[in-house]
Symmetry: C2
Subunit: 336 residues, 2 copies
DNA sequence: ACGATTCTCCAAAACGTTTTGGGAGTCAAG
DNA sequence: CTTGACTCCCAAAACGTTTTGGAGAATCGT
């Protein structure tokens, strides 16, 4: 309720002394420090955030841009991640603001507004593209940032990502080990790094075991996208006997397609993300997910270290992907 | 990159004039206004947010506190709601910051920090309790706020809520019309307004049709809570033939219990929230959901109007609940 | 031609904090 | 008695904006 000036006046001290007493500087006597702190406590004094921010030249804020493009919002567990991140940032005196992208504006626009208006000390980027203009912009401005997902940027930047290549590579080999030969891939939009790298993992594995990586169909990373892609693959002359989907949402769409097509229920399928609904689909959807504990905490830590000036090379986390064994991947290869 | 002073200097104008030119005041000539705006554009000038906030005595921020208590995060579609809300607030120059509650601290603590530090112009509260200390605090401070869910506060405040009473009342009557007599209720923690009012709706309907409202069990609003509550109700000497659950999460837990108990699959069940996974449970979960379009936009609008000083009475929205007809509620009453 | 009005512009204050660069006073050593 | 070190405190500047209260010049009405 009160301000530093009033508090100082009521104590017969200068603003300087009160400020320094509260901040625990050694150049104010223990006696006055106590006196000041008692008074501040009693008055319910909290420093005015805007004033502090102006003076310290720090926004005490970190922004995360929410993608709204593909109709659906970001990665799974996204809110949990944000919440964890915000909690850990708060412990360091930073708050997390969410920066949605209004229709008609680009994510770059938003970054610019936040950065040039000195509204944030750092940014958190999700859904990176292989060539991501936001990353280029932030690098040119020298603003600390961390991305969820890698990019193909020539200059390194902090990120946290799952090793999608290895995950999809392993999944493909697993199907092959089960005897599958016609292993199809339902891919996400290839401008996204995660989608591209997952496709590459599948492709490399197919090549490794000497199979043609031809059964691939790309679509938007949504249920509908997966549905349509699956229908297309199933209409091929030589159908796939197993399907690897870029995301669980697409996999769920593909499941719908499988139910509608004769013999579709014979086809093995696996997704990626471990959505909470996977346990309830029929059949329960086998999937993969990134390992590593509290993702939000990791992001917060990386952000803080980036703000502190640690080099980008030290701020890159690539987490292994683990297999989540439910049921949908257990379908024997259909005899030709 | 630049500030007002540099811009003014480079133009040979005063800071005042530049500021007013950019803000479009009439007391600067059209010619200079253009000149200033061109220069500002070219320099990529954006006003420093902290400075503006300090001077205008507005934080340009709205905080939403994320409950983290029951292990699980808030209502369904929560992130979509936040995103929509943030988008509409942004159009009015406000940003949304998320304020998680660190372990060991109360939500009240967080409110206090944000409000007394002048960090926000308004707050958005979710998961209100019948007697909510956050509401009392904000009312005492005179800070604009909107809650998601009503409270029993004697002084009115802005809110958006679903008419849980009517929804659960109607659901109960629907079961009764189907011939059910032993209609049980799995209730959420009664200190939450939503949980209480839903139980009241069930109770009132039971009373209305002359049935005993005795088959009720309360638990935490989680899958596990629903599971345990259902087990308890099923172990009663006279089992329910239909179950109304306070939330879908609890209903999903209850479904698990039904599968484990002999004859459980004969029992009709309905939840509330319309989680995306409801379509995939077996059987697909019938449920209810709040009507009304973009919830986030409504919250944003109410927040802005509250900030503008409209009286609380004009800022209360009670939305009807609609029935979502899937399959789980279609079970004939078991003959006794 | 002269006061009144309108047009443009500006100096300075204010927002509330943190930080710089001392300034008194005290005390012990020289 | 002087010097230096130390302790405790403070005045003033600075952060970058918005807003107040005019000031000077040009224009208008009479």
């Amino acid at each position: 309720m009160a301000n530093l000036k009033q508090l100082a006046q009521s104590l017969g001290l200068s603003i300087t002394t009160v400020s320094r007493a509260l901040d625990g500087y050694a150049d104010v006597s223990a006696a006055t420090r106590e006196r000041v702190r008692d008074a501040a406590e009693k008055a319910g004094y909290r420093p005015n955030a805007s004033a502090r921010r102006l003076r310290r030249q720090r926004a005490e804020l970190v922004a995360v841009t929410l993608p709204s493009d593909p109709g659906h919002i970001g990665p799974p567990h996204f809110l949990d991640m944000l919440s964890g991140c915000a909690e850990h940032l708060a412990a360091a005196g930073l708050n997390l603001v969410i920066a949605p992208v209004p229709r008609g504006e680009s994510e770059l626009e938003i970054c610019r507004r936040f950065v040039d208006g000195r509204r944030v000390d750092a940014m958190l980027l999700v859904r990176t593209k292989r060539k991501d203009e936001r990353v280029e912009f932030l690098q040119s401005r020298g603003i600390p940032f961390v991305t969820n997902g890698r990019t193909e940027s020539p200059v390194p930047h902090p990120y946290i990502d799952g090793d999608g290549f290895a995950g999809f590579h392993a999944a493909t080999l697993r199907f092959h080990a089960d005897g599958h030969q016609r292993i199809g891939h339902i891919a996400g939009p290839q401008e996204y790094y995660f989608a591209h790298v997952r496709r590459m993992g599948w492709q490399a594995a197919m090549q490794k075991v000497g199979l043609q990586a031809s059964l691939c169909c790309e679509g938007p990373p949504t249920e509908q996208g997966g549905y349509l892609a699956a229908l297309k693959l199933l209409s091929q002359p030589s159908r796939p006997t197993a399907l690897i989907c870029a995301t669980d949402e697409m996999a769920i769409g593909a499941l719908r397609a499988l139910r509608e097509v004769e013999g579709g229920s014979q086809i093995a399928i696996i997704g990626h993300d471990d959505l909470s609904m996977d346990a309830f689909t029929s059949p329960p959807l086998s999937t993969m997910r990134m390992t590593g504990g509290n993702l939000g905490a990791s992001f917060a830590s990386l952000l803080l270290r980036a703000i502190a000036g640690e080099p980008a090379e030290d701020l890159q986390e690539l987490h292994p992907i683990e297999f989540v064994d439910r049921d949908s991947h257990r379908r024997p290869p259909i005899a030709a």
